[in-house]
C-alpha cells in the first residue's frame, strides 16, 4: 500500500488525529533542521527552534489548504520563525521594502541543473554560505539543498518568481567571487 502523502496526513490531523502529526514531524524534522542550520549558520538552539516550528504548525494546522502542497506551507512557517530569530539577535536584518520584489526582472526560465553542476554548487555553497546575506543565502539553500523549484520558493518567501531567479543568479555570482578570493574554485 502506498504511503499517505503529506497532504493526506495533514487532513487527518485537521480532523482530530493528533498522533498523525507525529508522522509529519518525523518526515520533516531533518529537513527543517538542515534548513535552519544552513540559514542561521548555527548549531545551538536549533532543536528548540524546530520544536517551536512544529508547535506553530500544529496550532495553525486548520489554516492549511489541502489543495496546496504541505511542504511549502511548513517551510513558510520555518522561514518566518528563522527570520524572527535573525531579527532578535540583531544579525543581518532584512529590509522592509525591497526594490527586487517591486520591479519586474528579465530572468532566464528555470532549467534543470546538470548533476555535476548541482553537486559542485552544493559544495561551493557549503564553503561560502556564512559570507552570503540572508536575502541570497535562503533561496540558494531552498533550491540546492531542499530541492524546491522557483514557484515553491516564491510561495515560501512570498516574493515574485522572477525575483527568485534573480536572487539565485546573484547568489551564485557572489558565491563564486567569495570562493575565488579564497582560492577555492577549480
Amino acid at each position: 500500500m502506498a504511503e499517505p502523502t503529506d497532504e493526506e496526513i495533514a487532513v487527518r490531523v485537521q480532523r482530530g488525529d493528533d498522533q498523525a502529526f507525529g508522522d509529519l514531524m518525523r518526515r520533516y524534522e531533518r529537513k527543517i533542521t538542515r534548513f535552519g542550520r544552513k540559514f542561521l549558520s548555527v548549531d545551538e538552539d536549533i532543536e528548540d527552534m524546530v520544536q517551536e516550528i512544529f508547535v506553530k504548525a500544529f496550532t495553525n494546522i486548520q489554516s492549511f489548504d489541502p489543495r496546496q502542497r504541505f511542504s511549502p506551507w511548513i517551510y513558510r512557517i520555518a522561514h518566518n520563525h528563522f527570520v524572527d530569530a535573525l531579527k532578535e539577535k540583531g544579525r543581518e536584518p532584512i529590509s522592509f521594502f525591497d526594490l527586487d520584489v517591486f520591479l519586474p526582472h528579465i530572468v532566464a526560465r528555470e532549467t534543470p541543473d546538470g548533476h555535476v553542476d548541482r553537486e559542485e554548487l552544493k559544495r561551493m555553497l557549503d564553503l561560502s554560505l556564512n559570507e552570503l546575506g540572508p536575502k541570497y543565502r535562503e533561496p540558494l539553500i531552498l533550491h540546492y539543498f531542499e530541492d524546491f523549484g522557483y514557484k515553491e520558493i516564491s510561495d515560501i518567501l512570498r516574493i515574485p518568481v522572477s525575483t527568485v531567479g534573480v536572487r539565485l543568479q546573484r547568489g551564485r555570482t557572489m558565491m563564486r567571487r567569495i570562493l575565488e578570493k579564497a582560492g577555492q574554485t577549480k
Binding site: 518525523r26 508547535v55 500544529f58 486548520q62 489554516s63 520584489v101 526582472h105 510561495d155 515574485p160
Partner: protein, 231 residues
Amino acid sequence: MSIEEKEKSTADKVLASIAEGRVKRLSGRYFKLRTALKAAGAVVAALVLLHLVGVIHSTLYRNGLIYAPQFGLHGWLAFFGGLPFVIIALSTIFIVILLMYLKRHRLVYRRPLLYSTVVLVLVTLVVGHMISRTGFHARLLHHAAGAPVLGRFYRHYLEHRANNMHRGVVTEKNDGGFVMKNDGGEILTVSFGSETHFPDGDKFETGDEIFVFGKRDGDTVRAFGVHKIDN
C-alpha cells in the same frame, strides 16, 4: 544520543505537549473569522480610497484645475501646484494598506509588486472617476460640510480655489475678450492675447459658464486659457 533518538524525542515532546493540552490547534472557525475580518478591513480601505479619489476628482472639476493642462506649460505648472496633496498622501497610504492585504495572495505575490500597484491605481482612478461623474461626491461634500468633525475638512475642499483659476458666467462680450461674473459675485474683465488657449473654440455667448485661467490684476484677468463648462 543517536539522531533517531534525538528526532524521536523532539516529535515525542511535541506530541506530549499536545496530549497534555499545552498545545492546542486553533479552530477552523477562527481562521474563517480572521479571513473575513481581514477581507472586511480591505473592503473598508477600498471604500475609503474610492471616497478620497472621488473628493480629489470633485475638487479638481469644481475649481477647474482639471482643465489647466490644456493651457500649455503654465497650465501644467498650475495643475501640479494646485493638487490637493493632503488627500493624495492619504490615498497613497490606503493604496499601501490594500497592497499589503493583496500581497498575501498568490496571484499578487508571484508577480512583481509594480504590476499590482499599477492595476490598483488604474482601477481606483477609473472607478473613482465613474462614481464622481454621477455627482455623488459633489452632493456628499455639500452635506458633509456641516458635519461636526469632518465638516471642516470637507469645507476646505468644497471651497478650495486654485490659484489663477476663475470660474464664472459670461455677462457681456467685447472685442478681445469678455466680462464675467465669478463665483464670488465679482465682475471681472477678461482679455485675450496671442498666448491664450481656446480648447473649445473662441466663440462665447452671454450666459456661458466658463473657467478662465490667468493672473488677476485688480478686476482684470489676462487669460492664458478659457474652457467652457459642459452642463
